[in-house]
Symmetry: C2
Subunit: 240 residues, 2 copies
Amino acid sequence: MRTALRSERPDSHFEDIRGLHLFSEMSEESFLTLMRGSYVQNFPPQVELVTEGEQSDFLHVLVDGSVEMLSSWNGRETVMATVRPISTFILAATIRDAPYLMSAQTLEKSRIVLIPSEDVRDVFEEDVNFARSIIAELAQCYRSVVKNIKDLKLRTSLERLANYLLREQHRQKAGDSFDLPIDKRRLASRLGMTPENLSRAFKNLQGYGVEVRGGRITITDPAELERFAKPDPLIDDKSA
Amino acid sequence: MRTALRSERPDSHFEDIRGLHLFSEMSEESFLTLMRGSYVQNFPPQVELVTEGEQSDFLHVLVDGSVEMLSSWNGRETVMATVRPISTFILAATIRDAPYLMSAQTLEKSRIVLIPSEDVRDVFEEDVNFARSIIAELAQCYRSVVKNIKDLKLRTSLERLANYLLREQHRQKAGDSFDLPIDKRRLASRLGMTPENLSRAFKNLQGYGVEVRGGRITITDPAELERFAKPDPLIDDKSA
DNA sequence: CGAACGCTTGAACCCTGTCAACTCAAGTGG
DNA sequence: CCACTTGAGTTGACAGGGTTCAAGCGTTCG
């Protein structure tokens, strides 16, 4: 596991962070300013890092582990996204100095760098390159949620699942076989359906060349699945 | 109608644009650079201004009229948002120099200012204040789509309609009576439901103090409607 | 007046959510 | 080592919400 190996060089995650689009273009000075004010923390699984509705004090950078973004209303709860290393979350709330729209909670043991929101706002006033990176990042985030809405409104749950599987296969650079990266119950919520419904959806996809054994997915007939799923770059491509 | 009054002073819409958060903080010089390169155009209703999937050439500013943002997939189509004066649209695609994720079409006769995307990108490199405004605007847009997702995933269609009515009442600063600003069929699509379903939803809301006659809504029992709708600032507030 | 269109209504069907029972695997403790 | 517990996942039965199809109503507009 990476965390263990890296623990000898306490500053090494700074390099990882520097590698992110968001931080790669800024001046060394600005970057060090941000890092000097930041805290590195290790969290056990199932810890609530930020709470929906509270004020934004830190920009979070997930260096290792995994984090789930959740929202709730009127007693219901839904999974909005899953964050994997290395990436930031709740940038928009940080920028606007506004309350969080989602909660975040660790799924596994996670290492997270906390950068005070105020520092972020101060630094982008000074460093045009950082400002430009923030713009690029926010535009990207925006486009990715718009795609999420299109997925929700234009597709049935079965189609969403089919396209999710194709995306996941591609993301993991897997062959025709790969493991689901999260629980099925969380996946169901992410895709806007109930666990029971997801279970049935998986069964239905058997007819389109998908085999499921536990969390292991095997796509036996990729052409058939694609014909059904009709993936679209304007919904399914992470970048662009 | 404002358009008629203003047509005598052809540059007056520049002042309107200057009043937008996005343009109010930048230097006069930068602003004039943008305006000099821009085109003002009047469009009749039902014109497709931008097409999903095409490359982004202009940042659009709606000065007068109204515009609908649409997305489609696999023969289905959905209303993503309605844009009213004075505001910009497709900022994110402009910034990222990426293909549009939505189409835009005029609902009424509309006056639109087209600012070449390249100019926008050039100017924010130079003008830190403009960059800062873009950041604020994008963060705002991002948060507003996240709210849309929460609305879709956490609420039933009846709850979405109820909250829509409360938001619309508030937006129009209306008393207990106001007109729907768009067709019911478009509203249905916006809320992620069919026209038939919307029709029934309106009937169901009669039980919670809502009267409907044509496009005219009267909220006879605001307390009762709120009790049912449970509006939440983290979903329903436009700002913040 | 008739045509066109948006909206509404009814009926049938299907997808989805709910509730409950059951399986299965992993972990716990006697 | 094995019974017991626990939690996720699956399955079935059922109800409800939502879509679809078809027909009817009401306005507007030529």
